[in-house]
Amino acid sequence: MPTLPLLAHPSPDSIVAHRSDGDVTRQQFLSEVHQLAALMPAGSHLLNLCSDRYRFSVGLAAAILAGKVSLLPPTQTPEVVRQIRIFAPDVFCLTDSDLCTVDLPHLRYPAMNASTPEEIDVPQIVTTQCIAVVFTSGSTGTPQPHPKTWGALVCSVQAEAQRLGVSHDCTLIGTVPPQHMYGFESTLLMAWCSGAALSHAQPFYPADICQALSAVPMPRMLVSSPLHLRAWLDAELPLPELAGVVSATAPMPEQLALDIETRCNAKLFEIYGSTETGQIATRRPTQGAAWHLFPGIRWLVEDERIYACGDHIDAPIAMNDRIEPVTDECFLLHGRLADLINIAGKRHSLTSLDHLLNSLSGVLDGAFYMPDESDLVTRLAAVVVAPGMQASTLLAALREHLDPVFLPRPLLLVDALPRNSTGKLPRAALQALFQARNHAIRWTIPADHPAFAGHFPGRPILPGVVLLDAALQFIAAAIGLALDRFEISSVKFTSPAGPGCILTIGHAISESGAIRFDITSGSRKIASGSIALRSAT
């Protein structure tokens, strides 16, 4: 059976990793891999949660040697862990933290002995061995497994290393975790397969990134995301010398790409890929918009869907992005297909989020809404009908299932969703609802408002009629109509408002022309109602 070596590092003294307490040679690394492999329990699946990238790499290599599969879910919420256990009942968790609370049998990362003097051979791994299963959040809510073989992974990261010009004396520093596909490939496997070293660190703040870079010798490459890179540049710290910068997880704005290349005096590469395909293309955003496929990767168009195939991809994989092939080797990206959302590199399906929202106890109807993307990070919103429920209770329930980046901001409680006559929820209606809210008026009730006098002694509450009058005046001004055209169809006062209370007055105009409004204070609903319009006299 064909095999490929675990490491491309040529000699036992080659540096495999840089840690805060010194460099790790190939010999020491392999010795630690064997020590850890000997400690692994019988189960054939592990969840490798080591936060130190070096320890993660030892865990991964030990699992490969022991014939175990590393499971890489998108997040570790209690619900995802429960589903991982259903997928692999024998799964155990490898952790380097005493604070790990994941509900699985634990294997604590051990203290390691020094290496023996006898040279340890670099293990040869059968190319068809499944070494990892990467999960995506499927549209049904159940994580979808994507098995990865050693041969396919090596093939893809070798192509990447060649594109990026990663040499054997290079060190890779990543701000992205090795537990996600991009970090798995670009901070870890690429180092193994090109003979480069990896940095143990996972820098987060701008000052961390500078320190992690300075701690390792040149040439060094920073593997990161637009989000971290923008924060890093904005901090205006002195930037250590770099040989290259790699970005993925979200589209790189052209100006940010230019700024990075100018300030770092290094090439910036962007990687394109997905959990299903692995990485399949690169580009230099400062040199043009077109992406360049890795050698051997081709597109296949069938029934208006586009599939990636060839090289390390066993069977054609449908892409979730809108792709426009330009030549056999070049293509343009035009965003994602409507159902898929991506927030800071984390993917989810809107259908599955809606499904989850509507399955929560107390929720009668609800929908997530993804505003048009305007910045590096665009947040989801949700609108929910859940009489008697608090937004905070619903958010806590969602948090059990979802990575925090997918929690809606805001979660808006309403009486009814703006569904059309056929029961469909047009995106435009949701958009109008949230836009009206974004243009919502804020009004702080003056502590000395005359209406508080005598209403009531010792417990000041703004009378409903005053509240309503204020709201109508603001809405009339906002939509440019005279107040005398308003006719109140309904109004409901839900809770009292007192002196200094900051009110948000939101409104939305329905297809029929009626205006719905709501008055809230924080997450507390004060009043809501609807207004009909009289024709102008």
């Binding site: 987060f204 961390d208 971290h228 924060a231 990070v377 905070s392 806590a396 925090p404 901001r409 924080g522």
Partner: protein, 94 residues
């Protein structure tokens, strides 16, 4: 008297940082609704790592404090408004 002054400046800093957070993160709450002891992560204000990066940047510009993961436990600094403000007060250069 001394204690009074100290607690005044602590409260001022907490108000100011709460206001910075509301503005830079477009939060749905007002600054005075962020309680000093309530968790910023998870069930409290619900911040995530993207927010933390944003807040860290604003804090570095306003107070000249570069946050670091290795200096103190990052989770601890962002555990509450009070602990974030304590860290800023101890390390500010502006």
């Amino acid at each position: 008297m001394q204690d009074n002054q100290k607690s005044n400046s602590t409260t001022d800093l907490q108000d100011e940082v709460a206001q910075l957070m509301v503005e830079c993160l477009n939060l749905e709450v007002t600054a005075n609704q962020i309680l000093p002891e309530a968790p910023l992560y998870g069930d409290g204000l619900g911040l995530d790592s993207i927010d933390v990066l944003e807040v860290a940047l604003v804090v570095s510009k306003r107070y000249g404090v570069q946050l670091r993961t290795d200096s103190t436990d990052n989770q601890h600094i962002f555990s509450s408004l009070r602990s974030l403000c304590d860290y800023i007060a101890a390390h500010r250069t502006l």
